[in-house]
């Protein structure tokens, strides 16, 4: 199949806005790479540059080892699934799927067999004679997928394909996309702003912010070792708790003895240049008695969010706000005073620029 290699890719719009500021990503064959980030971070622009729908201002994009900067979207042999599906409204499902093949001069009987077998895989066989407006959102999504799959391209590109579906359907389609991608073994790039989609789908997760790659790697590696406060707060739901810390008064800036924003001292030593400490909601425990070698905070419960299998306590603590996950039903009520403990090994430290220490 194919690899996708981006080398220092930049996009500068005619107005001077730099949407993508030098991104290098290497996607190995058959892997699914998810680009995730807040809106305006350049992830969609990057995807569209891979598709050939946007020109590349500088840097190179190579598909299957061949630089395709000057190649049009048709010749790149890619297929794209759009956010609003972009099905041709006047064509039947069959023709929607067959259109790309026809334009490439595929013989009629081959088109027919490919459309029908793809429709079978996606359970669309009974819908082939319908028009897009007669389909539900989930079915349209499938047709859009079918249109991409039937072409058997080198690369699949997904532009937030699930964002128009309801939560339940989104969960189903997520699993389905992952299975399909794996069984077809097609290299894919998937853009989303949904961190759950990003975590569950990705072989390679790329977290983008303001036109740059913040962190790239396996999803769980990123979850466990976020490279910056941005990644820490973007990946994971609820996000990582971040508390500002400072050097103890009358101590050098790089002392290991730090205090929290409310002046309370940390009982454990911190890395010299740490300015922020972070911990995941699930790594915090509500305790009565403290153990040594861990971070202890006194917190006031502000809100309780029971989700079923777990509950989230939204608390004020140490001059900031934290979220603590407890399993099952929470005994705490708003207004309660709690002691929260986090083992030292579960703490993340970031310096004043937000980089991991």
């Amino acid at each position: 199949m194919a690899t996708v290699d981006l080398k220092d890719v930049r996009k500068v719009y005619p107005g001077g806005v730099e949407a993508v500021k030098g991104v290098s990503i290497a996607i190995p064959d058959k892997e699914l790479c998810v680009l995730v980030g807040p809106s305006g971070c350049g992830k969609s622009t990057l995807l569209r540059m891979i598709a050939g729908l946007e020109t590349i201002s500088s840097g190179t994009c190579a598909i299957d080892g061949k630089v395709v900067n000057a190649v049009g979207p048709t010749e790149r042999d890619i297929a794209m699934v759009f956010q609003n599906y972009a099905l041709y409204p006047h064509m039947k499902v069959y023709d929607n799927m067959a259109y790309g093949l026809r334009n490439r001069g595929t013989p009629k009987d081959e088109i027919d067999s490919r459309v029908r077998s793809t429709a079978k895989v996606l359970e669309l066989s009974h819908l082939l004679d319908r028009r897009p407006r007669e389909l539900s959102g989930g079915q349209r999504q499938r047709v859009a997928m079918g249109r991409a799959i039937v072409r058997n391209p080198k690369v699949f590109l997904f532009d937030e394909p699930l964002s128009n579906l309801d939560a339940k359907l989104r969960g189903q389609m997520r699993v389905e996309i992952k299975n399909l991608q794996r069984s077809l073994g097609v290299t894919s790039v998937y853009v989303t702003h949904d961190q759950l989609e990003a975590m569950t789908l990705a072989d390679i997760l790329v977290v983008m912010n303001a036109g740059l790659v913040e962190q790239m790697g396996a999803p769980l590696d990123i979850y466990e070792k976020p490279a910056s406060t941005f990644v820490a707060s973007f990946i994971g739901a609820p996000p990582m708790n971040l508390l500002a810390i400072a050097a103890k008064p009358n101590s050098p800036v790089d002392t290991a003895e730090k205090v929290l924003a409310n002046g309370e001292g940390l009982e454990i030593s911190a890395p010299a240049h740490a300015a922020t400490l972070g911990f995941r909601p699930e790594d915090a425990d509500v305790i009565s008695e403290g153990t040594t070698g861990s971070l202890k905070l006194s917190a006031t419960v502000e809100a309780v969010e029971p989700v079923g299998a777990e509950s989230f306590l939204y608390c004020a603590a140490a001059g900031g706000r934290i979220v603590v996950r407890v399993s099952g039903r929470a005994a705490a009520k708003p207004g309660d005073q709690l002691k929260v403990m986090v083992p030292a090994g579960k703490l993340h430290w970031f310096d004043s620029t937000g980089k991991r220490v």
Binding site: G72, M80, F82, Q83, N84, Y85, A86, G100, N103, R133
Partner: protein
Amino acid sequence: MAEPKAPGSGHDKLMIGQSASGIYVAHAILILGLVIVAFPIYYTFVASTQTLQTILRPPLPLLPGSEFWNNYSEALFGGAGRLGGVGAGTLLWNTTVMALGIAVGKIVISILSAYAIVFFRFPFRMAIFWLIFITLMLPVEVRILPTYKVMVDLGLIDTYAGLIIPLIASATATLLFRQFFMTIPGELVEAARVDGAGPWRFFFDILLPLSRTNIAALFVILFIYGWTQYLWPLLVTNRNDMTTIVIALKKMVSFADADTQWHLVMVTAILAIVPPILVVVLMQRWFVRGLVDTEK
């Protein structure tokens, strides 16, 4: 879609109360309006089935006379004396060619220019758009002298081309298609590009089918516009066998009442309104859809 609405849904409610008397009053007003509009046309039809003598001796009967076949065959095939023996058949043919030429020509030109303006980036794109837009302010009457000169120089007087070409450029239709094209999502254009559709393929496979209700609505409007043209055909045609039915109607009427073959004038008037009515009736469904419905 023309599905029947559920009873009681917003638009089906009568505007005047639900009482029986309200309904009668509403119907009475509507029927009165209909009579006022339809009566002159009916009276023209009645006159077209009488002999000239009956028409010239008022009062005109209110029921059709016995001369239907005589009058209509005389007008269609015999030719009117004042037109040098040109029959209404030739006139209808001329007018149909002109109206179809204008309607089809306008649609082709304007859909192509709107396509260029909306989907392509080329130098002076906006300047060209504004140039087209500004021509809205210049009706045919304003540019009639230079246009006439050009037609004379090109030797297009008394030709179908001379009748049609100067009326083809249409800012209104271009703007209409432009507005419609702008509602087509960018993703659709991109999907077609990824699917390997070049500019022509995209135009014929996607844009044209999506525009068909708009085209139909525009065709009806433009056909009638072309059919009822008066000033331009009057100027650009001299020969009686090249003129349109509207101009011919004018030529058939003499200052002296007795010199005018009123029965044939009436026949020609009826014949002149039949084709536009046919076009509207036959294309009504499409016409309404084009105005209210976008297939998305």
